[in-house]
Amino acid sequence: MDLKRLPPSLLIALGLAACESDGDGATVGACLNVDPTVTTGSSSGTSSGSGTTEVGPCLDVDPSITTGGTTIGPCLDVPPGTTSTGADTDTDTDTDTDTDTDGDTDTSTGGDAGAGAPSESSHRSAVLGRLLDAGILPSDVAARLSGEADD
């Protein structure tokens, strides 16, 4: 029997592999570092459920785009909270784990917000304003977007 074909959890249960703590109680196998029970796709509800959209096409298409008649188009307007998959398991390295354990709409990034964080529109306007001030955007685009930055 090829032990590598067995699920890590079974190897651990049989005492054939060492357990490794993930910091939150989750364990992974000794030779494979992915928990097979963990899904890799989000549960945003934008997938058709057929499974085909989970297959990552090489290079160029957002897997969320489906060709079925009942699913929505490109996932460009999905609210941040809709892909929540439960509690995060990566608390050891995140810089903002104090608030973001459920995929909520926390807008704090890089320490420029914090308590009383601004709404998304005002925060985006602030970021846009910073890019405009830094001359990152071409002047004609800056002129077109300056109104948004003032909002």
């Binding site: 090829d2 590598k4 074909r5 699920p7 890590p8 494979l32 570092n33 992915v34 097979p36 963990v38 899904t39 890799t40 796709g41 989000s42 499974g51 085909t52 959209t53 989970e54 297959v55 990552g56 096409p57 090489c58 290079l59 160029d60 298409v61 957002d62 897997p63 969320s64 785009i65 060709t67 008649g69 188009g73 490109p74 996932c75 460009l76 307007d77 999905v78 941040p80 892909t83 995060d88 398991t89 990566d90 390295t93 995140d94 810089t95 903002d96 973001d100 709409t105 926390d106 807008t107 990034t109 998304e120 985006r124 846009l128 990152i136 955007l137 071409p138 004609d140 685009v141 977007l145």
Partner: protein
């Protein structure tokens, strides 16, 4: 769905129906990206050398080919790509035809030719998404990596498309020289209202194999980017997906639940079949091997060929027995072929992770180009919307 469950679906279907098709409108491009994966950029003597791009179909023949193959495959989603597809003067006509053939049309363009007129016409054609590439958060670094003066045009294209109601997805190709720019690119996306980002670590095929030593990112650099994608994507509502496979043995992808990870689709029920401007069929954009030609053979015969099945079985020896053998398949095997001439050879990302010293010695196996100092290409204005955007 887990990676393992994905493998259950990953088998060629009994019938020859597939959900999507990619069409390469032209092999030409006016950008000079060193990381370009197009197989026809391979040099003489490279494993992928010799891809014939001569004799592209004219407009009526191209449209007829599209109509016919869509009917045969049952595809409902078309992606228009290239080269730079908008360099073809009939590009918008073909895109509009695609819109009449299927439910979903997406476009991959370098962004240098999407003025307001072209964007409006894409909107009227019902294009569901346009993918633009941003390699850095500032024009100097972006233009240097693209080999062209194009940052401003790309930003302009994003704004034009947004104003025309066409959703934009940004593609970021992570390399050793720009991985640190990823956060700035996400910030740009956020500021411009772009809510979709395709994060793709460099996967060398074509001529890109000659830039592995300089450009190939490390596992640690990719991991740092995924941390950023998780943090900022979640905070800003930017959907992040990866199309280039990231082997789960290198990075614990389950840590990044905001990110949608894709794996090689060749041989699955939803393959990334590509058809070039001569009717040649390949298993994906990075593959140089031909499955057949739709102008010469029925689709059922092409689809039943051995290429996909042989490809799927052909995994690196080091991956044999792994629980992810049939889903991950060892990453991008076309990259393994392009670099080493063998689909079963570990691809460069996997190989470098096992043999970090190989990066210094890669030139002994694959010639590594010295990048000459050169003037950046300035894409032609004449080819832009004034010619293609007019209805």
């Amino acid at each position: 769905m887990s990676v393992l469950e994905h493998s259950e679906l990953a088998s060629v279907g009994d019938d020859c129906q597939i959900p999507r098709l990619d069409f390469e409108l032209t092999p030409g491009c006016d950008h000079k990206c060193a990381h370009c994966y197009n197989v026809w950029t391979a040099d003489e003597g490279d494993p992928q050398a010799g891809y014939d791009t001569g004799g592209q179909l004219r407009t009526p023949e191209f449209k007829a080919m599209m109509t016919d193959i869509v009917a045969q495959t049952g595809a409902r989603h078309i992606t228009i790509t290239g080269g730079e597809p908008l360099l073809r003067k009939d590009a918008l006509e073909i895109i509009e035809h695609a819109g009449a053939c299927v439910d979903v049309v997406t476009l991959i363009t370098n962004g240098s030719h999407v003025d307001a007129q072209a964007a409006a016409r894409l909107g009227r054609a019902g294009v569901r998404q346009v993918q633009l590439t941003l390699l850095a958060g500032d024009r100097d670094d972006h233009d240097r990596l693209k080999g062209a003066v194009c940052f401003d045009d790309t930003i302009r294209a994003a704004v034009n498309l947004t104003e025309a109601g066409v959703p934009v997805q940004v593609c970021f190709v992570a390399m050793a020289e720009n991985w640190h720019q990823f956060e700035r690119v996400m910030e740009l996306c956020y500021a411009l209202g772009i809510r979709g980002l395709s994060y793709n670590r460099m996967s060398p095929t074509g001529g890109a194999i000659h830039h592995i030593a300089r450009l190939m990112p490390t596992v640690e650099q990719i991991e740092a980017n995924l941390e950023t994608a998780e943090r900022l994507g979640r905070a800003w509502g930017i959907q992040v997906s990866t199309a280039m496979p990231i082997p789960p043995c290198l990075i614990r992808i389950e840590r990044y639940r905001w990110v949608r990870f894709g794996f090689c689709s060749t041989g699955s029920s939803s393959p990334n079949i590509v058809i070039d401007g001569k009717g040649n069929v390949r298993s994906c954009n990075l593959a140089s091997g031909l499955m057949g030609n739709v102008l010469e053979q029925p689709w059922s015969e092409i689809y039943a060929g051995r290429y996909q099945r042989d490809f799927k079985r052909n995994v690196p020896e080091m991956c044999r027995g792994c629980s992810y053998e049939t889903s991950c398949q060892g990453g991008c095997k076309e990259s393994g072929f392009a670099t080493f001439g063998d689909h079963a050879h570990p691809e460069p990302l996997l190989w470098l992770a096992q043999n970090p010293d190989w990066k210094d010695a890669v030139g002994e196996t694959v010639d590594q180009s010295i990048v000459p100092l050169r003037r950046l290409t300035r894409p032609s204005r004449r080819a832009q919307g004034a010619s293609i955007g007019e209805a």
